[in-house]
Symmetry: C2
C-alpha cells in the first residue's frame, strides 16, 4: 500500500489509519490552522503599540512609573516610564487597587517600583501592553518577581514556561530555590524532577551547601520528594523498597 501522506510504500504491519480517518484528520488540521490565524490576528489587534518611550512616546499617558533602585542612573534622576492608568489597572489587580483609591500614587501620578532595574521595568510595562517579552534567564527571573508582586498571572506563567525550558543541571539548584521563594509551583516541580535525576551528584555542588546553610527546609523538602518518588517507583514495580 502507498501512504496517502508521505507517498511511501508500506506493509500491513506498518499500517496507520483508514482513508476516512486520514481525510478527517487533514480537515481538522486545516481548521485548527485557520483558528490559529484568527487568534493571531486578534492578538495583533488587541496589542497596544508601546515603543521605546524616548524615541516615540506612547500617546495620552496619564501616569509614570519609576524604577527606584536603578543603579545605571544612580547619580542622576531615574528615567520615568510613561503608561496609562487604564492599561495598568486592566492587567494587574494590584495597580487597579493602587490607582482606584486616593493613594499617593494615584494623586501624584507617579508609581515607584522598588528593587528593579530600569530595563526590567520597561520590559514589564511592555508586556502589559503587548503580551510579549524578549527573555533571557535573568530577565525571566526579574519579570517573574514583578508578575508575582503585581499579580499578573499571564506573565508569571510565561516566565515559568521559559525558565522550565531553560533548566539545566547547572542552574537547577538556584532556580529551585528561586521558584520556591516566589510560589512558582510548576517551576519548583520541574527543577525538583531534574535534581532528583542527579541525586548522586547533588552533594558535590557548591549551591547545595549554600542552600543547606540558608534554606534547610527546602533541602528537606527535596529529600522528602525523592523518598516519595522511590516509594512510588517500588510500589509500581509491585515490590517494597529495601529497608
Amino acid at each position: 500500500m502507498k501512504c496517502l501522506s508521505c507517498k511511501e510504500e508500506y506493509g500491513s504491519r506498518d499500517a496507520g489509519t483508514c482513508r476516512e480517518c486520514y481525510e478527517e484528520a487533514s480537515e481538522t488540521e486545516e481548521e485548527l490552522k485557520r483558528e490559529i490565524d484568527d487568534l493571531k490576528s486578534k492578538v495583533n489587534f488587541l496589542r497596544f503599540f508601546w515603543g521605546p518611550p524616548l524615541l516615540s512616546p506612547p500617546l495620552f499617558t496619564d501616569v509614570v512609573l519609576v524604577a527606584s533602585d536603578d543603579h545605571s542612573t544612580a547619580s542622576c534622576q531615574p528615567v520615568p516610564v510613561p503608561a496609562h492608568r487604564a492599561v495598568l489597572a486592566s492587567r494587574s489587580p494590584v495597580f487597579k487597587a493602587m490607582l482606584e483609591i486616593k493613594m499617593e500614587e494615584s494623586l501624584s501620578g507617579t508609581i515607584k517600583i522598588c528593587d528593579v532595574s530600569y530595563d526590567a521595568l520597561r520590559a514589564f510595562i511592555n508586556y502589559l501592553y503587548t503580551a510579549e517579552a524578549c527573555l533571557d534567564v535573568n530577565m525571566a527571573c526579574d519579570l517573574l518577581v514583578l508578575a508575582e508582586k503585581y499579580q499578573v498571572k499571564h506573565l508569571k506563567t510565561y516566565c515559568e514556561k521559559f525558565l522550565i525550558s531553560n533548566l539545566s543541571w547547572e542552574n537547577s539548584i538556584p532556580i529551585y530555590a528561586f521558584a520556591h521563594q516566589h510560589n512558582a509551583k510548576s517551576l519548583v516541580d520541574a527543577a525538583l524532577s531534574l535534581i532528583m535525576d542527579n541525586m548522586e551528584k547533588l552533594r558535590k555542588r557548591e549551591e547545595y551547601a549554600e542552600l543547606v546553610e540558608k534554606e534547610p527546609r527546602m533541602v528537606v523538602e527535596l529529600y522528602e520528594a525523592y523518598l516519595s518518588k522511590q516509594v512510588n517507583t517500588a510500589a509500581n514495580k509491585g515490590s517494597t523498597p529495601k529497608a
Copy 2:
C-alpha cells in the same frame, strides 16, 4: 487491518496512511491545540474589560462618544459612551489623527458619531476593547460601516465573514449592493456568486428592479461577471459557448 484512529477493520483499498505518518499527525494536532490554548489566553490577557457603562463604568476614561442620531433618545440628551483616548487611537488611525491634533474633538473630549444608533456605537466601542461582538445581520452591517469609516480593518473583516456565512438567496441582492457601497470585496464576491447560481430567478425579485433603478452600474457588473463565468466554464470544457 485495524485503523489506529477509529479502531475499525479496513481493507487495503480503504488504506490511508502508514503508522509513522499517523503518529506524526497526532503530534502535530496536539501541538496546534496547545498553540490555540496559548493564543486564547493571550487574547484574554490583552482584552480590556469594558462593561455596560451604566452598571460598571470603565475606569480612568478621558473621552466620551455620542451617537448623533439616536432615535431612542431623540427627546432627551443622547447617552454618552465613555472611553480612553489611548484605546481609540491604538485601534483606529482615524481616531488617532482626530485626537492627536487639536481638533474640536480633542479639545472638548467629546466625539460625535453621526448616523449611528446608541446600540451600534456601544457595540463598536466594545469591539475596540475586546475584539468581540454579538452580531445579527443588521448589527454586522452597522459595524461594517463604522469599521470602514474609522479604518478598523479587523472589525471589517469580522463583519464580512459573519455576513458571508449568513448570505441567503433572500438577502443576496441587498447585501450585494451594501457590500459594493462599502468596498467589502470578499462580501461582494460571495453575494455575486450566490446570485449567479440563481440567474434564472433574478429578474423576478423586487430588489432587482430597485437595484436597476438606483444602481444600474452594479447590475451591469453582475451581468459582466456572469458572462465571464460562462466563458470560463466553456473554455474549461474545451468548447466555446453557443452564440
